[in-house]
């Protein structure tokens, strides 16, 4: 009966049906089940600008280097508050148009960092624009391509009020007298990147990370504020703009080395700026507030690192000082 080696019809039909049955079981049924996933409460649909940004993201195939999935293992905790869920992709992974299907946002390579929460990590538009125009302006060791075609150079006379001008060192421009203006594609892409934040599920509902069995550094033995590594926190949170050298980027992000505010013996203004952001000087980009992202201890550790590095010499501050100012700011809010 099973004379596969003589009956070509039987052979092909069996092999075909076998494959189809297996494929339905392993691919089509699970994929169809995933269609029943609903968005999380509080998740918002992408705005048309963000959707346009997503299209640029796909067009430039950012997925080939950047993932958007926080795996449920402890090492991925740096990329998000909780492991990613199927619902997280409800709005972003829809069919794009007649020609293009739902984008493969999860990715398979982390040549660059995961972007699940890049909107939280890098909220400033100035930073994003500079980084897109030439990543090495803000991250010296970056190997990301420059997306200079998302920008155009205009002579000062041609720049209108609507244009978003990006301050870059003039030697990077083809014509040093011109201004660099972000094209709508760049702005849309940044809008999309800024929208990338995990929806909050609350402590109780969030799935847990699988803990690593690696022995933790003896955190409990040290004093709370001393246990935190100010340099590490600074590198993760602040160095993208203010640079690891504390020197900032001329015309974009102010220098912290020798800064009056940082060196002020009274740390009130410094702590206030870290907590609620700063946009008082037109020549520099706006700084977002970090009140929701950092604890008092972390802010104290960062401030102490800033006050004792790059030639800065100012007295150390404590977490209590930060906590007082935090309360003060909260009380001021209506």
């Amino acid at each position: 009966m099973f004379d596969f080696h003589k009956n070509h019809r039987l052979l092909t039909i069996t092999a075909f049906l076998g494959f189809v049955v297996l494929s339905i079981g392993i691919a089509i049924i699970p994929a169809s089940q995933m269609q029943e996933v609903k968005p999380l409460p509080g998740m918002e649909e992408l705005s048309s600008e963000e959707l346009k940004g997503l299209h640029v993201y796909v067009s430039e195939n950012c997925m080939s280097c950047h993932t958007q999935q926080v795996r449920n293992i402890e090492m991925d905790q740096v990329w998000g508050e909780r492991p990613s869920l199927a619902s997280d992709y409800y709005f972003s992974k829809q069919r794009m148009d007649l020609w293009r299907q739902s984008p493969s946002l999860l990715g398979s390579e982390r040549t660059g960092p995961d972007l699940t929460e890049v909107g939280k990590r890098q909220p400033g538009i100035e930073w994003h624009l500079l980084h897109l125009y030439n990543p090495r302006i803000v991250v010296k060791e970056s190997i990301m391509p420059s997306y200079s075609w998302l920008f155009e150079e205009k002579s000062s006379a041609m720049v209108t009020k609507k244009d978003v001008v990006v301050t870059v060192p003039s030697e990077l421009l083809k014509n040093p007298d011109h201004k660099l203006v972000a094209k709508p594609e760049a702005l849309a892409l940044v809008a999309y990147l800024q929208s990338l934040v995990q929806a909050d599920l609350g402590q109780n509902l969030s799935p847990d990370f699988i803990p690593s069995t690696r022995k933790k550094k003896e955190q409990s033995s040290g004093e709370e504020s001393l246990g935190l590594d100010g340099l590490q926190l600074y590198s993760e949170t602040c160095a993208a703009c203010h640079q690891p050298t504390g020197g900032g980027i001329p015309g974009a992000f102010p220098s912290l080395a020798g800064s009056k505010i940082v060196n002020d013996p009274d740390p009130n203004i410094l702590i206030q700026i870290i907590l609620s952001g700063y946009d008082a000087r037109a020549e520099f980009g706006a700084m977002p507030g970090f009140a929701d992202l950092l604890t008092d201890e972390e802010i104290a550790a960062i401030a102490n690192h800033e006050r004792s590095s790059w030639g800065n010499k100012a007295p150390a501050i404590s977490a209590e000082q930060v906590s007082e100012i935090r309360k003060f700011i909260q009380n001021q809010k209506p």
Partner: protein, 607 residues
């Protein structure tokens, strides 16, 4: 029916794995002592051992050659001794020597006065200098297969296109690899990394490997069915469709139009449809040819060729139909499609080619037909289920990940069956391998078939995923398989069949250079990215800032580019070799006079 116990066994495995998942807690402290890592290290050691063996044997031949030269030193010492001799003695010696020098063989000592004649065409080549230290003297191809002119030209069309795409695709690959070192190489949108990376992968997939496979398949299908191809014009149409698909797809990719960026299905559906139509035509053509075979049995190669085509057509349809692909449905399909593209198309079809070209190159039958059949059905069963192992720890259902991991381990069955079959076929033909320019390619391909596939199975484990997923280790694995297995085997097949069909051989030196550059290049590529990938994974587990892992990769990316350059150069040499095999000989009007065939008896070298 025979498979029932096997399936039950697997289901048990599945259940036990599902129960075990309550404590999925990999012990990272001892990462180096986990089975996945040890297994991978052993596999790499195995392939390095083979490499060292081959390189060692070549080196020893080379040293031997040098030693022969050092004999000249002994001659010098004899000369200096002669100076002290008496004149008389010297004269006596010189006389003797003169006489000896003047003695000539007449050339007819053995044959008498009969004219030497090679009427049966046994002698193919006469050489005065057989000692070439770098490239072994290879046996020339003596077998010329009577091939119908349309089939011959069809093969040259397909293989020629494949060679073009190989050179183009690897040129792009090399360019993209260099961008890791010099990210500012250009500021052109259509040359940017994100757009070019899929151009590289899709070109070598659908352009190089697929075109070469189909071209080689046409010969197998017609030869083993002992009949002519069902329709040559259909084959030509398929050629146009598939090439057009690659061309258009690439243009779209470079202009920023891709199908959502899922790996290997970046071509938007109109471009992919052209390719699928080409596959459908090819399948019909192959099927009808097999149906009209002149022998009762279907040779095992044709099982794989038909299976590969059929499964791939199904795969493309499932991969592009939209209704279940929103949200993570797309991710399920992506894992399935990405792995089946490799497993059901490239691997299956190429195995079919090996089942024909390897035994014919060795001039003996395949070791076991039954093992081939076992490998065929298990290939279908296991390969189909493993796609989700690209998304371990992702938000996809845990059971789907577990099934993928379990069946990845099951992949060892077809792999071991296939490897055993090929090695047992090669067994006892060691001297044939060193004398042939085809078989070294097969040897490398088959060794990598075992090592690359087994390494892939181990990489699917949860702990190895912990360490290696998202790092450059994946890139190393895909080159180990797509290059080490598929590409080396395709080269072997091309070198095996082209001289038999066209009667023209590639230059021996060219084949030698091609083999060595590709082989050494692949090693540099593989080892550097595997080492770098492991270090990068460890850096992430340690929780270091991300940019540290970029900085630590820099030297490894340089070595990767070096390996890539060697590979690219070898492809240029291969393209030249192919041209030598495929070029048309200008038909010189034969001015044959009877005298020109008269051998001159006095020249001893005219054997």
């Amino acid at each position: 029916m025979k498979r029932t116990p096997l399936i039950i066994f697997l289901l048990c495995l599945l259940v036990s794995e599902a129960q075990a998942q309550t404590v999925p807690n990999p012990d990272i402290g001892q990462w180096w002592s986990s089975p996945g890592i040890i297994g991978t290290a052993l596999l790499i050691a195995l392939v390095s051992f083979v490499a060292i063996l081959i390189i060692g044997s070549r080196l020893s031949a080379f040293i031997q050659h040098l030693q022969n030269k050092s004999d000249t030193g002994t001659k010098e010492s004899i000369k200096s001794e002669l100076v002290n001799w008496d004149d008389e003695d010297l004269d006596w010696l010189l006389e003797k020597r003169k006489a000896a020098k003047n003695f000539h063989l007449s050339g007819t000592e053995l044959s008498g006065q009969i004219l030497s004649d090679d009427s049966r065409g046994l002698i193919s080549n006469v050489t005065h200098d057989p000692e070439n230290p770098l490239v072994n003297e290879k046996k020339r191809e003596t077998l010329h297969l009577e091939t119908p002119q349309p089939l011959r030209s069809l093969m040259i069309w397909y293989l020629g296109a494949s060679v073009f795409w190989l050179v183009f695709g690897t040129l792009v690959g090399q360019y993209v690899g260099m961008k890791f070192i010099w990210p500012e190489m250009d500021q052109t949108s259509w040359l940017s990394f994100g757009r070019l990376r899929p151009v590289h992968t899709n070109t070598v997939f659908w352009g190089w490997a697929s075109m070469a496979m189909v071209g080689l398949g046409y010969f197998v299908i017609s030869r083993t069915s002992n009949t002519r191809i069902f329709s040559y014009s259909m084959a030509k149409i398929a050629w146009y469709l598939m090439n057009l698909s690659v061309l258009l797809g690439n243009l779209f990719l470079m202009s920023g139009v891709n199908n959502g960026g899922g790996e290997y299905r970046e071509y938007i559906w109109p471009a992919a449809l052209l390719f699928a139509l080409g596959l459908v035509l090819t399948f019909i053509n192959f099927y009808k040819t097999v149906a009209s075979r002149k022998i009762s049995e279907i040779y095992i190669s044709n099982w794989y060729l038909l299976g590969g085509l059929m499964w791939t057509i199904t795969l493309v349809v499932i991969g592009y139909l939209p209704s279940y692909q929103d949200g993570l449905g797309e991710t399920v399909i992506q894992g399935y499609y990405m792995h089946q593209g490799v497993g059901m198309w490239f691997m299956t079809f190429t195995l079919g080619l090996v089942y024909y070209y390897l035994p014919t190159s060795l001039n003996k039958p395949i070791y076991s037909y039954s093992l081939g059949v076992l490998a065929f059905w298990t290939q279908m069963l296991f390969y189909t289920m493993i796609g989700t192992h690209h998304f371990v720890f992702s938000p996809l259902p845990w059971w789907l990940q577990t099934v993928a991991i379990v069946f990845s381990a099951g992949m060892l069955i077809p792999v071991i069956a296939g490897t055993t079959n090929f090695f047992m076929t090669m067994k006892g033909s060691g001297s044939a391998i060193s004398k042939s320019y085809v078989l070294p390619f097969f040897l490398v391909g088959v060794v990598f078939y075992f090592v690359g596939s087994a390494q892939g199975s181990l990489q699917a484990f949860r702990l190895t995923n912990f360490l290696w997923h998202f790092t450059d280790f994946n890139v190393a694995h895909s080159h180990m398989t797509m290059y080490g297995i598929i590409t080396f085997i395709l080269w072997a097949c091309i070198y095996a069949i082209m001289p038999k069909v066209t009667g023209k051989e590639p230059p021996a030196l060219g084949v030698g250079i091609h083999f060595w550059l590709a082989f050494v290049g692949l090693f540099a590529y593989m080892v550097s990215l595997m080492t770098g990938g492991t270090l990068r994974g460890l850096s992430w587990i340690e929780g270091e800032p991300f940019i540290n892992s970029v900085i630590l990769m820099q030297p490894f990316w340089v070595w990767r580019a070096v390996g890539g350059s060697l590979m690219l150069v070898s492809h240029l040499v291969f393209a030249y070799n192919f041209y030598e095999m495929a070029k048309k000989v200008r038909s010189v009007p034969a001015k044959v006079s009877p005298q020109s065939f008269q051998p001159t008896p006095n020249r001893p070298d005219h054997v």
